[in-house]
Symmetry: D2
Subunit: 366 residues, 4 copies
């Protein structure tokens, strides 16, 4: 069971609410003797941190992470021991505010009604457990996960905002760090600046599509049928707040293709195949066939809906079932998809780490 | 861990290869005292059975299921006992054939290379474990799952074939059983007949999109963060052979929407809210918010790639890494998406059954 | 969750009732390319098979096992493929009999009342799912498990029957196969023959203690805290029907020892320590410290209660709660502990296989 | 998988090392709307806390627990929300000391060698993760677990120290809190005082047996075959540091009994059977038959070996494989079994809570 845990051999359990004392996670199953410093984790957290531009929530959180367990100093620096690694991030900006507006009303598009329907009560302070704040702990866990599969690089990019898609011909990974959108298309990033400003100023919000690419994934990761690599990626990405769709490789586009166009042909690699497998002449598969990695880049995309916290009044009901209107005040992200980029990377890194360990266990060294 | 098992309280473990002795599954965790006959399971299996029209593989399989355990006769008929229910389907048409073409060559778009990369060998007879034949056992398990959540109806439909989408205004569930495509749009079904005939005769294949709708799902099913109802649906649907994308409700379309357009507003229901929750004025959420069901219909779609078994020669490599061409002979489905409809229904039914039991355990009767 | 499944990377799911059509299991997670024949599995099953002496139930079951999936013929013989291995044993001797005596009465010491309390009904035919017949499938799975840890030998012995313990000085593994009790002490075996004959003729029954020894277990198997090797062994052995106690190494005897007497001292091995670790000067630990194997033999013991199916009338209640007496007719084992020996071996083999794979995944090759 | 997690619907994940910054746990799956205060958890922790008498380690730890998440204030006090409850205990007395003696030598009877064999390194400071300090977090989790099964009381007692067993005729639960041994036999407690003083002063240690009794367990908890209530109890109790044996009810004594003596006869209860089931005339079963609770008290015992930290020099090897002697200085428990009493209670409470939720999910309200 895994309500607040994901993974099998590499397992992450998260805890904490938006406006509680602290959030954190326990990373269990990390192999021993991996070099790990708090700075490496902080670096990833800083990429997700709110309040870094006018395009994300103005909540100010330092998101300073502490390692509580699972590492020790050795002659060659701080390393993992094989024991569970607990990470803690204290909440500092839970802004004391008036909750009367949302305490008894269900915000449309949020999990207010469903948490109440499930549990009979809900933590209304900042969304409680359903807040995207929880994703900070995923990014922290992902920083550890990145170290597990030798040679893997996991990078994400915003490839669509509203109806506007990037020009794939202009894809430049170096651009990602140069704009506040993690956008790999320089021109589109410039456009998004004014586009999103308009949305922000009008108090509205907009959806986005994120693409995560993992390069250097060895062939053979994944497992048959119900532990497919793409099945686990789908669950992991769909578990991110506000995600409504996931696709691998050609994705929904594959529905429009013929077998000739879709199936990726192969040619022998110049080097020996044993190491690298064949050269694929295309990658509609997104690096996964039959649930198992092909050795090509793993490519996953996910759709993030617009945040439902907007500044215009909305029809809803209160806890007593009476009709009312609700008016969301306070800080919000005009495009929550932006900060989902490092979260998506983290989830992909965690899934790959887990499958790397599982594959090593199940099939082992030859 | 769950290589060949899915679910938690309602758990299904499947086994068997395309051309082996038999396929089957073990359904564990089914509550006791549910009426269950072999005919009910057979009825669902017959909907998926190959060879029923010229648009699916001509393999002839009776797909006769046997119940090996977990039920007993009582005064009120045959019921489940709470013990694991084992189901067995013998393979009858494993057509003795010449495997020399595919034994040492990797079919593009199939799991041939990846199984070999993972395991160092593969069962090349009809695809072995990676064959869609395994999905018959899912349909059998799904027939049991359908009985668990009181009042739930799970139905699927083919909503797109190649670039051709159905007209949603013409959606009629009664049409599903009247054409060989599970298509709810009568006119489009007529079109698909000639369209797919052309593809079939040319030895090509085409992708499709399937939509599954579950009505009568009570509010409150699902669980936070890593056991979200949509996360589990995404994993379950992505685990179906050839699926490359999954979306819930507005799905990828949500990326193009503003917060005003996307968030589903609420109004009080005329009856008491306790039972049914509010009336939602739209269903972009696809019946799920924060990973938990809203009480609206749960709507999931998945994209099925075109089968890679086509009649034109394709570039590939052999097991020794040498370049070669491969030419797939034999039976195939011109649109594997068609038979994925009952499989998709079964997966959704299984996920709902599992979450119903988990919710009952976790939150329980008030 | 694991009602009818055990293990994580090496997972066994069993099904079937005593008097149903068939019993069987699905072994998932077995590494590929292991040589495996049906004869190897049958050999282990034959050691557990009933009706082989007058000291076990006279039920006649051929216990012929079939492999339904997960293996294929290769140039070097039949091997595992990495796919789930389904094993099936048809029930042949479910003797048509009159169940009226036990249908509505709860047999003391059996699971009759508890199954009814849990499920609201029970399969009264031969004990249904709670029958020891299920253990045949464990022995079959164990035969596969034995092949996974290189160099491991798992052997069991009956070391106590009623109050009579074997003389450990006379322990000879070769004796195990020479008497119907799996007893390693030749003299005690001769005594047991007349002792158990007396019990059998009087229609009574007696308890026993079984010891399982696994030699060749590499140091390092097991995992911290809640996945300790001894924790998993305890659960696995306690899951065998009629087992009421489990101990490792000195076991309950350790409660009477001082720290000086109990802790196993170490000396360097003549060979290099890297391979074999230190030489331990005693083995009170039973080969496990901190939940992790030391490299010494793993020693586990379990207590089996006397069967509650005896020929004297017993006080009980019926399904309506009325007082009554019950008189068990029919076949029974005067000492069910005897046939628990191969079952205990199988469970230990399965736990070791699982931990071997988990260790390889978690820590991997250096 | 569950290296540092136990339970399924009620799940506990623990973290932290003996001499690290903090220890803690995440309790996931706790039902919502349970009243829970930090004082209730602290009360249980205080019973286990070291340094309360001269018979336990003199390490001074306040063991002040903080609740980081999963609760909220309501009109009727602080309650659980259904979100994961994170508990944190800061380490305060990690006494800066000289580790040179144990850093490179393996202490006999400890997990030093095995952790090193598994992970290639170990946290030698106070035993790191293998220290009994981890059990404080179990007691904290157990305090929550106690609230889940309505009407259940879980109490433990020390029933044997070295070869000295209590007189069961003198059992008085009220005595438990009146002596530093959790001993229910007043006279034996007085004896233990001088007995253990002798052992303590000589720098030696001694083993013990603990009995845990759960009253008010409803009939029907547990699950077939591999999720038996006794199987889970065995794993849970064996996972406590230094435990070498577990038994239920008559336990190993059952091996010496005949079927007539062992099987618990039944008589109708004066009240209606529906609620309470039959009256059992004895409880050799320890409240569990076929892995499912009978409604009688659940009785489990476990054997705790003497601590291996003693003041006389012991033969061992160092990390280089060279022979050496080791001399354990510092604080230790002369009988670690004493503090295992509240830990055993906590584990039993957790297993019962988990099975209560699972039963409710699986079988549900009728």
């Amino acid at each position: 069971m895994s309500h607040n845990t994901f993974g099998h051999l590499f397992r992450v359990t998260t805890f904490g609410e938006s406006h509680g004392v602290a959030i954190g996670c326990v990373v269990d199953g990390c192999p021993p003797q991996l070099a790990l410093t708090v700075e490496e984790i902080q670096r990833d957290l800083d990429r997700r941190r709110p309040g870094q531009s006018r395009f994300t929530t103005q909540r100010q959180e330092a998101d300073q992470v502490k390692i509580l367990s699972g590492v020790m100093e050795t002659a060659s620096g701080q390393v993992t021991t094989g024991a569970p690694i607990a990470l803690l991030i204290e909440n500092t900006d839970q802004r004391s505010k008036d909750y009367s507006e949302i305490k008894d009303k269900f915000r449309p598009g949020h999990a207010d009604f469903t948490y109440e329907a499930k549990y009979g009560l809900r933590d209304y302070r900042g969304g409680g457990r359903s807040s995207a704040r929880e994703t900070a702990t995923r990014v922290a866990a992902g920083a550890i996960a990145r170290k597990i599969v030798p040679g893997v690089t996991v990078r994400g990019a915003l490839v669509q905002m509203g109806p506007h898609r990037i020009d794939r011909e202009k894809w430049d990974w170096n651009e990602i760090a140069r704009n506040p959108f993690f956008c790999p298309d320089k021109d589109k990033a410039a456009f998004f600046e004014s586009y999103l400003d308009g949305i922000r100023k009008s108090g509205s919000s907009i959806g986005a599509v994120i693409e995560v690419v993992a390069e250097g994934v060895p062939a053979g990761l994944g497992a048959p049928i119900y532990a497919k690599l793409d099945g686990d990626l789908a669950a992991a990405l769909m578990s991110i707040n506000a995600v409504k769709g996931v696709e691998i490789g050609a994705g929904f586009g594959a529905a429009e293709l013929s077998g000739e166009d879709n199936a990726d042909e192969m040619r022998s690699s110049s080097s020996n195949m044993g190491n690298n497998g064949p050269v694929f002449l295309s990658n509609h598969a997104g690096g996964i066939l039959g649930g198992i990695s092909t050795g090509q880049p793993v490519v996953a995309r996910f759709a993030v809906k617009p945040t439902s916290s907007i500044l215009s009044p909305r029809k809803t009901v209160d806890r007593n079932g009476a009709d009312t209107d609700i008016f969301t005040k306070g800080r919000h992200d005009p495009c929550v998809g932006i900060r989902a980029v490092p979260v998506g990377e983290a989830m992909v890194a965690c899934v790959l780490a887990d499958h790397f360990l599982r594959h090593r266990g199940q099939v082992g060294p030859r």
